[in-house]
Amino acid sequence: MSDLIGLIPLAPLLGFLFIGLVNRNLTKGWVSFIACGSVFVSFVISIALFIGLLNAPEGQSSLTFTAFDWISAGNFSVSFSFLVDPLSSLMMLIITGVGFLIHVYSVGYMHDDDGFHRFFMYLNLFIFFMLLLVMGSNYLLMFVGWEGVGLCSYLLIGFWFKNQDYNDAAKKAFIMNRIGDLGLILGVILIFIHFGSINYQDVFAKAGEFPAGAEFITWITILLFVGAIGKSAQIPLYTWLPDAMAGPTPVSALIHAATMVTAGIYMIARNNVLYTLAPFSLEIVTIIGLATAVFAATIAIAQTDIKKVLAYSTVSQLGLMFVALGVGAYTTGIFHMATHAFFKALLFLGAGSVIHGLSGEQDLRNMGGLRKYLPVTFLTFLIGTLAIAGIPPFAGFFSKDEILANAFAHSPVIWGFAAFASLLTAFYMFRLFFLTFSGSTRASEEVKHHIHESPKSMTVPLMVLAVLSLVGGFMGVPEVLGGSHALNHFLDPVFAQSKALSEAHHHLDHNTEFTLMGTIVGLTLVMILIAYFMYVRGRRVPAPDTVTLNAAHKLVRNKYYIDELYNAVIVKPLNVLSKVFDSLVEKLVIDNIVNGTGKVVTWSSKTLRLIQTGNTAFYIFAMVISIIILLAAKSLI
């Protein structure tokens, strides 16, 4: 079984190489076949491994596979080796499964694009790196995947490279991620310093020797979290993700919703042992997650670009996942990550279908009434919206409810904020939904004339994802609803050690849990009704850009001016500093010292030349004196 592990990342890598090297000689059909096929191969093997793990006897819940020794220097060594355990297995299923669907969808979506070949190359390369990220059996291999997906993200955000705005967005994504990556790599080095190894298994085995709250573990976990903040777009490094919507929509679905941005969630869940030993870091994770969840949700309310709303929604949902991790509910975080992958991929692909149908239109103000034009998109989008809003029995309900329950058990205040964020979610999502599909269309006649439902290659993935968004939650039905939470059992081996380390969780009694659940679902319905009355009954449409908004609205519409703030506080000062270095320090100070030294030498040689009298006796005399001085100097030392 474990011999097949290497094939999983290899297949999409070969796909990438093949399309890249043969390039122009391949028809679009072949490109689609190779790109989708290679991911499908990985998917099938991942399923086989997953089934193997499901049936594995107790205590044998992981497989490893070492390809070769990668880097070794001094006492440091790391190999190219993979670890498949329940956590990575679940991630692999999502990456290859959802990845495959999005590949298929892209065949339709990108069909008329000149960069068809290039697009699928990048997409395959992305799957390869994403698989490395979750399959690596050590921190450095995770880092390879981590930076590799960042590269693919960069390439795909700037896919339409003639547009410098898109290129700016791509560059911003890469650089902001690099800020996080620096934190991550320093964290990894700190792990090496204290544990003498960067293999997960060695590190976690040794972690048990240290007391909870050990300072270096706190530092390690905070540094790792800095990486997660960058990759998973949390405050203060989230601003790249909304800009990243410049990329083709399938990319937004795959990279900027379902997989890459959840790498931070995976990473913390993977390091649950270390985080459990660092309560302070967990507090930070909770606070950042919570703040991001609320903050991004408020921004989403006032956005007018369909993809931007979804982008801020992703930021907000990722925040909720971090809250789950922060309160120690690791499986819950992973659970929400999985359901989110289904419904957010669905929503993005649905949005893509809308954009495709409207000849590229992304502004909600120019949509409306699409229900009758795009029936499949409409229905599947509705399912996605219900799922993210948390209406039972859709997938998002179970996972979100579990986060809220865990938050409440930790502290009612956290619960309050998290519940607020999730209610806002219901509101802005239905705002988006109504503005897009209900009422009469606001598109121009020209566009209206061309509106069409998307081809099969696009609608079929939508349907599959809709089914997953509908039933995905059943992998984690809680006890209070008579379930057994299959996901928890499956993931148990990964979190067993940290469970043993942490104090017993005070579980909510079923009554409280039930009350909370009822309250939230009730309030969610109220939010949907409000949205309904505003945007369907009231036929409200967000104001055009020309209208002056009131201060609060303007603030939110402009995303609290955070980009402008960063520009003023970081980008500009760095530029000014660099210019000062360039024109002042470099040209004025250092160079003048150097040239000055040169001039002094020239002057003194001109002067000293006068000593060259041609008198041998004088030379000998000078030499003797010099030697005496040298010897004297030496004896002084």
Partner: protein, 490 residues
Amino acid sequence: MLTTALIFWPLAATLILLALDAPLAKGWALAASLVELLLTIIVVVQFEPAAGNQFVVNYPWVASLGISFYAGIDGISLLLVLLTTLLTPLIVLSSFKNSYDKPVSFYSLILFMEAALVGVFVALDGFLFYIFWEMALIPIYFICLRWGGVNRGAVTLKFFIYTLAGSLVMLVGLIYLYFQTPGQHSFAAEALYAAGQALPASTQGLIFWAMFLAFAIKMPIFPFHTWQPDTYNTAPTQGTMLLSGIMLKMGIFGVIRWLLPVVPQGVNEWASTAIILSVIGIVYASCLAIVQKDLKRLIAYSSTAHVGLIAAGLFTLNKIGMQGAMIQMVSHGIVIVGLFYIIDIIFSRTSTQEIASLGGIRSAAPLLTTVFVVVMLGSVALPLTSGFVGEFLLINAVFQYNHVVGALAGLTMILGAVYMLRSFQQTMLGETNTRTRNFIDLGTNEKIVLYPIVVLIIIIGIYPAPLLKISEAAVDSLWNVIANYQAVNQ
């Protein structure tokens, strides 16, 4: 025998070249440098990493003064000889599309330069080392002066005087050490090591500065770098490649072979100063790279930043850092030659290397773009490129040395991305303009130079083990020497 051949073959080839007609010059230079590469490969095959100095030759030269023609190859030398002999044919090839006047002189200078560089890396006699060290300066001086760009006279003179001043101080240091050797006196490395190590710590400190200054100027590290951007900019591309790809490694190599083991206590005392200068250089040069308007100058500053990290890692006196320095020297050489060649290609098509007047090249030249991306990734040290292996090991070492300094050194990850992505975006992406509209993609000759570079960047990134293996034992034994004295100090 092989060592002698490695030094004298390019010299012999230079002499033969001088007798050839102009049209044959480039072909001969290429053939000769390929033979030299072949010789190196033979050495690599026969080389035993654990066996210390091999292929040793030792002939008395000026016996009365204890100067010998004493040379040999250990893992550290071998990596650098390999780098030199690998890059030289690529550098020669890269010039094929240009028509230099006086090609015989031009190519004979390159071959002569190769001989001197190899000599620097294999010399085991201090005096011989010094001879080669200065010998390497002569051809590059003439290459820059004769075939350089605007203002070449003044720029080249500054470069020459600056580096020469450094080397003269080093010569003083070497001669001082020589007089400390017992009996008949000798310039042999072992004798100089023994003499240096026996010196009192304070004298070692003085010697440290005498030698370090020469090496610091050559690398260059902050604040001894100001000759570099002008020189790189003015020199013809092949000169810039020789300077940045190989010659600056002389400085780093000098530290490894002729500083660390010579005055270990001096090193102990001053290593922290060297590290701090290096790390300041990383941040400072990266910032300068961000605001450069000219591609060549930008890459020149990026080189200072990268070399700063190499020096910092080296001076941590940590095995991880030393190995990191070794592999990063190889990677840096390959990457920077690639970058300068790409700039040369852009310049040859558009007559400009000013970032602001370019743009949109990607539409016209997808192959060049792909190559540029890979080389850029090598430069920003993306994992699975050659740049990552070294950068990770170096940051690792510096972070172990001191967390704050390590984090500052790590800023190269962010700032490097800022200046590289910015220049890539503004030259290659966006809409085409009048200069770039008819840009012609890579020609065969250009592919022959760039494809090996791309392949090497990726292969070394994925499987660096063979290279690390070559230098491992030599680094270990060097480390043992230093560690002894660190223990004494503590």
